[in-house]
């Protein structure tokens, strides 16, 4: 059981960025990347820095990661909506039409065109059909 050495002192959130907890936030996008897990599952990852927060556990200044599994049914649609909203689009039809594969590739390219974009986030609890409690992240344009 050597794999659990250090378990008692381990932070369950790990050394990576935490995920969103229930609450409302204003965030600034730090990066958008893709990564393949050890099982070669592709993930789209949004890193964002919290600028305003209603959850004390995620105060201003914390960088939060949001992962989308691109192999899941809702993976690509969620990424598409995120990219659309981050570019100021709100009409689903417009998002569907304009957020193309090339736009998505450009989003995760080294140029990182979405870095610095400010968005609102509503992170809410949701109970799945299996009974698991998860946090769903809704991205919204930031309007003063």
């Amino acid at each position: 059981m050597g794999m659990f050495r250090g378990m008692n002192d381990a932070d369950p959130a790990g050394t990576r960025n935490p995920y969103f907890l229930e609450g409302k936030y204003v965030v600034r996008i730090v990066s958008c990347t893709t990564i393949a897990s050890r099982l070669n599952v592709p993930f789209f990852i949004v890193e964002s820095e919290i600028m305003e927060s209603t959850n004390e556990e995620l105060p201003v200044g914390v960088t939060v990661s949001t992962l989308y599994n691109l192999q899941k049914d809702m993976g690509l649609p969620n990424v598409k909506r995120f990219i659309g909203v981050a570019n100021g689009l709100t009409d689903p039809e417009e998002i569907k039409e304009q957020v193309t594969e090339e736009v998505a590739e450009l989003t995760v390219s080294e140029e990182q065109p979405l870095t610095g974009v400010i968005l609102r986030v509503n992170a809410r609890k949701h109970v799945t059909k299996k009974g698991d409690e998860i946090v769903v992240v809704d991205w919204m344009p930031y309007e003063n």
């Binding site: 059981m1 794999m3 381990a10 304009q98 193309t100 736009v103 450009l106 989003t107």
Partner: protein
């Protein structure tokens, strides 16, 4: 309309449409692209037909004290040393028995290195020292060659060893030990090579790749330096090549595209052969079959009579995931591991027994793991991954992991082997004695080796390949000996034996290649090398079959024939 958003994003980063192909080609592509790195690889010179003069190289490297009937370098050894001399490094996929030891000894001499380090597995340390001492009679020696083991380098306290010692030449025997980029030892060598890129690097192994060209791309870059390696230097580009030619690829395989500049690519096998040929043709890369061994390989399986108490324990293990004395098994690997000891007649018992609360928490957690594994959920295929999912709050476990983690350290398991029956081993002994030939009895477990020694008085060679009197296994020729697989599978020259009895068959094709190569190697004088393999249970047989599947995979990937596949095999039991 789509142009609007795309153009807006491009202008935000100061780019235009024409920049797009370059901007978005950095991920894994759908096909191998025509890039500057590919064009560099296409332009690398290919090795001509000129062969190294092994007579001349033998004269150059011979010791002044060599006897009047001196040893000669084999042509392959001379070729390797010549390329080390000309290219300042080498990656050699040289099969078991191909003469790697002498190359590792002479490489620092050829390179005129000042502070060479030879990296070897710990199990081969004393064997290497002995063989070098014998070779010193015939060949020049480097007076400042330092032997360091991979295990030494992987320890946290030795993390800065290379930086502090600052070798100008790294020679790595069994270089597949540096295959895994996440392993501590690989990270240390990688950091050193990154910070000291002019360090000469010589890597040798008979089993250089298991699954992918990514297993050895970094080794090629260290040996030949980035501008001269026949594989892409950029990780993304390498991954596209790998997904194009590797045997096992998840998701869609990219089209070969610009790989066609290297040779024919009409199907996957052809693309793979084209890339393999480009690698093989590069000076500084030696891909060689072992020297022909004029002896056939015979593998025969046999099934012992398994006593009822063992059969019951195996059934309980298989059906309920419980081992004798009540511990709960978490995953399939553990079932297989326990089955391998049970068929030999023993199981491990905890001494002292675990406190009830500790055992309860362990069973609760491991029972949960077993249930999750049974559901075959994507990505949750091991205890470690399930634990991580729980810790990441992605998988509710009712607090089982937390309770187990809280109590786990309060009790330290001390496993002692307890024999249920030695009937199976006694049958093995009778078979070996009936054969009336010196035999190597290969065992996986120390407990089995010691029990066999107790029953027969045969010497048992395990730590560093030595027996209880400190003798090296190579010095026991003419005797029947018991050999720990873990301590003797790599590097030993055991061609004095032609008969092997394998008590615990391995399930890994690469390990079989090594094990067979101990006796089926250059210098073997018998007409056939025999392996009697004990199959005590279907689980063990399934594992053995997996080894054959691995070997077929290897043969395709490396163009090197595998000894397991060359064997005349009968698995009927």
């Amino acid at each position: 309309m789509s142009a609007t958003l795309l153009d807006r994003m491009l202008s935000r980063v100061g780019k235009a449409r024409e920049d797009l192909p370059e901007l978005i080609s950095k991920g894994e592509a759908d096909e191998v692209m025509d890039t500057p790195d590919l064009r560099r690889i296409v332009g690398l010179p290919r090795r001509g037909e000129v062969e190294a003069d092994h007579v001349q190289w033998s004269k150059l490297l011979r010791s002044k004290r060599a006897p009047s009937n001196p040893q000669m370098l084999r042509p392959l050894q001379a070729q390797a040393l010549q390329e080390i001399y000309e290219k300042g490094g080498l990656l050699g996929a040289i099969r078991v028995g191909g003469g790697k030891t002498l190359i590792t000894k002479l490489a620092p001499v050829v390179l005129k290195a000042k502070k060479p380090v030879l990296l070897i597995p710990a199990a081969l340390r004393s064997k290497t020292i002995r063989e070098f001492a014998k070779l010193d009679v015939h060949w020049k020696r480097h007076g400042n060659l330092k032997l360091v083991t991979y295990e030494f380098l992987s320890r946290p306290k030795n993390a800065n060893y290379l930086t502090q010692y600052a070798p100008d030449c790294l020679i790595c025997d069994e270089v597949h030990k540096l295959k895994n980029p996440d392993a501590a030892v690989t990270r240390r060598v990688s950091r050193y090579m990154r910070e000291n890129p002019l360090t000469a690097f010589v890597g040798l192994s008979g089993t250089i790749t298991k699954r992918s060209i990514t297993d050895f791309a970094h080794l090629l870059a260290w040996a030949l330096k980035p501008g001269y390696t026949p594989l892409p230097v950029k990780k993304e580009e390498l991954n596209t090549w790998a997904r194009c030619v590797d045997v096992k690829v998840d998701g869609k395989r990219p089209k070969p595209g610009a790989l066609a500049k290297l040779g024919p690519v009409s199907n996957v096998n052809e693309s793979r052969s084209t890339v393999a040929k480009r690698i093989r043709d590069t000076q500084g890369v030696i891909v060689a079959q072992g020297e022909d061994v004029d002896a056939s390989i015979i593998i025969r399986s046999w099934r012992p009579v398994v006593p009822p108490e063992i059969t019951e324990a195996l059934d309980q293990l298989r059906n309920e995931g419980v081992v004798p004395w009540g511990d709960t098994i978490a995953d399939r690997m553990e079932v297989y591991r326990h089955a391998r000891s049970l068929v030999c007649g023993f199981a491990y018992r905890w001494d002292p027994p675990a406190p009830p609360e500790w055992l309860k928490a362990r069973r609760a957690w491991r029972g949960f793991v077993r249930d999750v594994l049974a559901e075959n959920i994507d990505g949750l295929d091991s205890e470690m991954r399930i634990a991580k999912a729980v810790m990441d709050r992605k998988l509710p476990d009712g607090g089982r992991l937390r309770r187990w983690a809280e109590i786990r350290k309060s009790f330290e398991v001390n496993s002692v082997p307890v024999w249920i029956s030695d009937l199976v081993l006694r049958q093995a002994i009778i078979r070996i004695q009936k054969a009336k030939v010196p035999t190597i009895v290969w065992v996986e477990h120390i407990a089995v080796g010691e029990k066999l020694r107790e029953l027969t008085a045969w010497p048992f060679f395990h730590r560093q390949g030595r027996d209880h009197r400190g003798r090296a296994i190579e010095d026991a020729r003419g005797e029947t000996v018991i050999a720990s697989i873990g301590s003797n599978i790599e590097g030993r020259n055991l061609q004095a034996w032609a008969h092997n009895s394998v008590i615990s068959p391995l399930s890994n094709g690469l390990q079989w290649e090594q094990l067979i190569g101990r006796t089926h190697r250059f210098g073997q004088e018998a007409d056939e090398v025999r392996f009697d393999v004990m199959i005590g249970d279907e689980l063990v047989l399934d594992g053995f079959r997996q080894a054959f599947a691995d070997a077929r995979y290897q043969a395709t990937l490396t163009s090197q024939s595998q000894k397991l596949l060359l064997a005349d095999t009968d698995l009927t039991i």
